[in-house]
């Protein structure tokens, strides 16, 4: 077996050194009835690279890749171009095959990139400090809610009607398990402002999203003001990190915590994971933050170096009193994010965001010009909702036959909210003029 270097002679000689007869001797603590005699039934035996590759390639061929043609699916994950350099960097063995940097003397590579990641996320969100990443945007959102409850010592969490419903579900689950009350505002395409009215003296935080799940961008400054007047926090969520190159970021709106998805930078679609959660907050809240933090220090020779820090918040020190149970973050995806951001630079990011916005504007014009199609999102970055005169599921199936993956039907995300004729549509820098023309032409045929 190609991954196992021990030879039968090695095994025999090692057993002799140990004084054991066979490997069975090591398993004598296992209850007799649970000791398996033969190999587990029902599973195949080992295979060479070629055979494995053949099987996996066959499975892969049964999927329609986003790059295979016009593709307009967003709603929390986005098809962006990832520079070849990014993948080369994350495939370096020194980054790919190392562990959490517990031994900083031989992990400065990981630690310095995490410090760069934190700096980039803080700047992007316009917040004071960022952590070294979370699993994804939805778990970052959930952790933000319970952090707000810790900070305010209050128990009511209010979710906007534009929050991605999967983020809302993940947040509700974690909050309710901890005995917090979650109030979900009615689903609304342009309702983030409603959060301002709902906040009261028991509210720990309000959670708003911009751009929201329908693509609507909203200045949450008014919500922040209302929340702060009542002693509550504003958690500002985003699912499209590229938007922050152009759209008002959480920090400029007075958010206390920013939580979002970083997949758009450097990370492929990967059918939903692994992704990278971004988490940032105001400086005064840093000791209530979940997750790893990397900080600057010096070594014994006085040279600058980096270490994991403030670990007294964390489970391996604080156990049942930790701020979160998170152990692993999303290190390699954070590195991909950082490498992509580094290649773009501030000016490049803004330009990329502009290209995304313009592609969406052109798409909205092309689709909105069709008789019977209505663009529902009043202000948007790179995605928006449309209403079609025919059932959305049927529309998408017919578009698919025409080779166009036309978006997400809103009823897949909101099954009980009577949005059967609504489709969420996204465009990015990958969207070409031809793609837009193909979509409009195919949709015109259908309706």
């Amino acid at each position: 077996m190609r991954y196992l270097p021990l030879t039968p002679e090695d095994r025999a000689s090692m057993l002799a050194t140990i004084g054991a007869k066979s490997a069975d001797d090591f398993y004598t603590d296992v209850p007799k009835s649970a000791r398996l005699k033969a190999k587990i039934a029902g599973l195949p035996g080992h295979q060479g690279e070629l055979a494995v590759e053949r099987h996996m390639t066959k499975l892969a061929a049964r999927n329609r890749a986003a790059s295979a043609g016009p593709f307009f699916v967003g709603a929390g994950a986005y098809k962006h171009h990832v520079p070849a350099t990014v993948d080369m960097i994350i495939q370096r063995s020194e980054f790919l095959t190392t562990y959490t940097p517990y031994q900083p003397e031989i992990a400065q590579g990981t630690l310095q990139t995490l410090f760069e990641f934190q700096t980039q996320v803080a700047a992007l969100t316009a917040m004071d400090v960022a952590n070294a990443s979370m699993y994804d945007g939805s778990t970052a959102c959930a952790e933000a809610a319970v952090m707000a409850a810790r900070v305010t010592k209050r128990s009511k969490i209010i979710l906007s009607g534009g929050l991605h419903p999967h983020y809302a579900a993940a947040t509700r689950l974690l909050c309710e398990a901890q005995g917090l009350t979650v109030v979900q505002l009615p689903v609304a395409i342009d309702g983030e402002g409603e959060l301002a009215k709902s906040v009261d003296g028991e509210t720990a935080c309000v959670i708003g999203q911009s751009p929201n799940v329908f693509g609507t961008v909203t200045d949450l400054s008014g919500v922040a003001k209302s929340a702060h007047e009542k002693g509550a926090l504003l958690v500002s969520v985003f699912t499209e990190a590229v938007s922050l190159g152009l759209v008002t970021p959480p920090g400029e709106m007075g958010a206390d915590i920013a939580a979002g998805e970083g997949q758009s930078m450097g990370n492929g679609l990967n059918f939903g994971g692994p992704y990278v959660g971004l988490f940032a907050c105001k400086e005064k809240l840093v000791r209530q933050m979940p997750g790893r933090l990397c900080g600057e220090t010096v070594d014994a020779d006085g040279r600058r170096g980096f270490v994991l820090t403030l670990s007294t918040r964390e489970q391996h020190i604080r156990r049942d009193k930790a701020t979160s149970n998170i152990c692993t973050n999303s290190g390699l995806c954070a590195l991909a994010f950082t490498a992509h951001m580094t290649l773009l630079g501030g000016k490049g990011l803004k330009q990329l965001a502009q290209l995304n916005h313009e592609a969406a504007c052109e798409l909205a014009d092309a689709l909105g010009a069709l008789k019977g199609v209505e663009v529902l999102t009043p202000r948007f970055f790179n995605e928006f909702a449309i209403r079609t005169p025919v059932d959305a599921e049927a529309v998408l199936a017919m578009l698919d036959e025409a080779g166009v993956v036309g978006g997400v039907r809103a009823s897949r995300l909101f099954p009980t909210d009577h949005l059967g004729d609504v489709i969420l549509v996204a465009a990015t820098e990958c969207t070409t003029t031809d793609d837009i023309a193909a979509y409009a032409a195919a949709l015109k045929e259908i309706i």
């Binding site: 994950a77 562990y99 689950l173 008002t248 014994a300 270490v307 501030g346 803004k350």
Partner: protein, 523 residues
């Protein structure tokens, strides 16, 4: 071939040894490298993008006021920046990485190649299900492997890491108790003192109260204390137990523990972090387990990536299966795979949704590739070699170091610091290993052993590598026993010397800030 006509010296000159300072700060192959923000500018870019057309904005005025100001680099600069930083990392591809409880095994490159097939890497979690049948089949196949290897009837694939899998298991227990009408009364979860910190942290995240159980002199659960704690049963939610445990030992009384907890009306959560020791040889389903997460990044070779992404699918017994989270994959009678995404119908008792999408697909591809490569026969050999390697290390070092417990170990060898002279700490031994070219073992964990040193070799290492490592550690251990003060300064040969963690925590600097302009600073 060029003639050496000018008498260029071809042998080293006699020169003084010792360190020299360089103008560049580089040290030969180890290049000095500043932070990206100190070498780049916001105008620099390594990406050629088309020029925007200048269309009218549809942002409705919700536009960013202050640019990010983030530095960029050209492509060659960026490549060098990250290459140079990479040289400061130790990695499993470079050498032995015996970090206990982390299972740092070889990460096959075939896994990486397969994960990058566009049919896996370039598909969207919300595109029509008819266009991702291969992806859903892959999830279903991996699920079958996990259920068969563990002997459990059901598996939740969406948890994003080990601790997230723990959360999944404990939320299912919580939901089962609620369904029984005992959600408010059964709040107590028993957790051994030797448990990984995520266990008690997870229990609390789910609204439970942690009740700690001591370890006995053999490093296992103290059964007398367990029975004592189960005198009262009406408040018991369950137990969280790692098996093999964090001392690297199999819990001898595991079936009795399962029976006792079930009799008390609770559930048995098993932390599967150490599954590598028993894969193919023992099925947790035969031990009375109700829920267990599996770290695909440990047992099934997906790369650790410097701290994630992980993946923590969680298997369930019949008792907990109905409460598993959405989404999950089912196969219809017509052979089509389907995602169940909402809490109704097939999933009416589900505790809900933990994450935005379907789990760590990129890790699923790698793990299945690894399983197919090894097969059921190879995986059994994996466990045996991992355990053999650990016992070999224990046997070679037990005369110079202090084994924490008597007898054979499973996949990791645990030593206490009892053999060291006064003033020499576990950390000194760990850092001295760095100078020898090794990643240190896990230190000061588990907490039940003083100055713990937890060594997990995995099946990846050859006998020659183990012998070299044991020679090094044996020598360091002898120096530690003799009180060799030079150990306190180690490492001497790493890219950095020991770092000041106290200073980092006292006044945290968590991001780079531009220095004040010189004209201002000069005033």
């Amino acid at each position: 071939m060029a003639m050496n006509t000018q008498g260029r010296p071809t042998a080293p000159a006699r020169a003084s040894s010792g360190s020299i300072e360089t103008v560049s700060g580089s040290r030969g192959l180890l290049q000095h490298e500043d932070l990206l923000f100190e070498i780049g500018t916001p105008e620099t870019t390594g990406v050629d993008l088309p020029k925007p057309k200048g269309l009218k904005s549809r942002l409705g005025g919700v536009a960013r006021k202050v640019d990010t100001g983030l530095a960029g680099l050209s492509e060659p600069q960026a490549v060098r920046h990250y290459m140079r930083l990479s040289q400061r990392n130790y990695a499993i591809d470079l050498g032995f990485f015996p970090l206990g409880s982390c299972t740092m095994k070889h990460n096959p490159r075939l896994n990486e190649k397969m994960a990058r097939l566009p049919g896996f890497a370039d598909i969207h979690p919300l595109q029509p299900q008819a266009t991702v049948q291969g992806a859903l089949q892959l999830i279903d196949e991996l699920a079958t492997w996990l259920k068969t290897l563990t002997g459990m009837p059901s598996v939740a694939m969406s948890p994003k890491a080990g601790a997230h899998g723990e959360l999944c298991g404990m939320l299912a227990i919580r939901q089962a108790l609620i369904a029984r009408g005992e959600g408010e009364t059964r709040k107590r979860v028993l957790v051994p003192a030797s448990a990984h910190g995520t266990n008690p942290a997870t229990a609390v995240q789910c609204g439970f109260i942690v009740d700690e159980i001591k370890a006995n002199a053999r490093g296992r659960v103290d059964m007398a204390e367990l029975r004592e704690k189960l005198q009262r049963t009406d408040d018991v939610a369950g137990i969280m137990l790692t098996n093999p445990n964090t001392c690297g030992l199999f819990e001898t009384d595991i079936k009795e523990i399962a029976d006792l907890i079930h009799k008390a009306g609770g559930y048995f959560y098993c932390d599967g972090a150490n599954f590598n020791a028993i894969v193919g040889r023992v099925r947790p389903g035969d031990l009375g387990v109700d829920a267990m997460h599996i770290n695909l990044h440990k047992t099934f070779s997906t790369p650790h990536g410097g701290g994630g992404p992980g993946s923590g699918p969680t298997v369930f017994s019949e008792a907990l299966a109905p409460y598993a989270p959405v989404p999950f994959v089912t196969k219809d009678e017509d052979g089509l795979f389907r995602l169940v995404e909402h809490v109704d119908g097939d999933a009416k008792d589900s505790f809900g949704r933990m994450v935005a999408f379907h789990g760590q697909m990129g890790m699923f591809v790698r793990a299945l590739t690894y399983m197919l490569s090894h097969g059921a026969d190879g995986l059994k050999q994996v466990a045996e070699d991992a355990v053999l390697n650990a016992n070999y290390i224990q046997a070679r070092l037990k005369h110079v170091m202090t084994p924490a417990f008597e007898g054979y170990c499973m996949h990791e060898a645990l030593f206490s610091d009892a053999f060291t002279a006064d003033g020499i700490e576990t950390i000194d031994i760990a850092k001295a290993l760095i100078d020898e070219g090794y990643h240190p073992m896990t230190m000061y964990f588990p907490l039940v052993v003083h100055g713990a040193m937890l060594i997990e070799p995995t099946e990846t290492e050859s006998k020659a590598e183990l012998d070299r490592f044991c020679d090094s550690l044996e020598s360091i251990a002898r120096r530690a026993a003799q009180g060799d003060e030079t150990l306190k300064g180690a490492p001497y040969l790493a890219p950095a010397r020991r770092l000041d963690e106290t200073r980092a925590a006292r006044k945290p600097i968590l991001k780079w800030t531009a220095p004040a302009p010189e004209s201002v600073a000069a005033e």
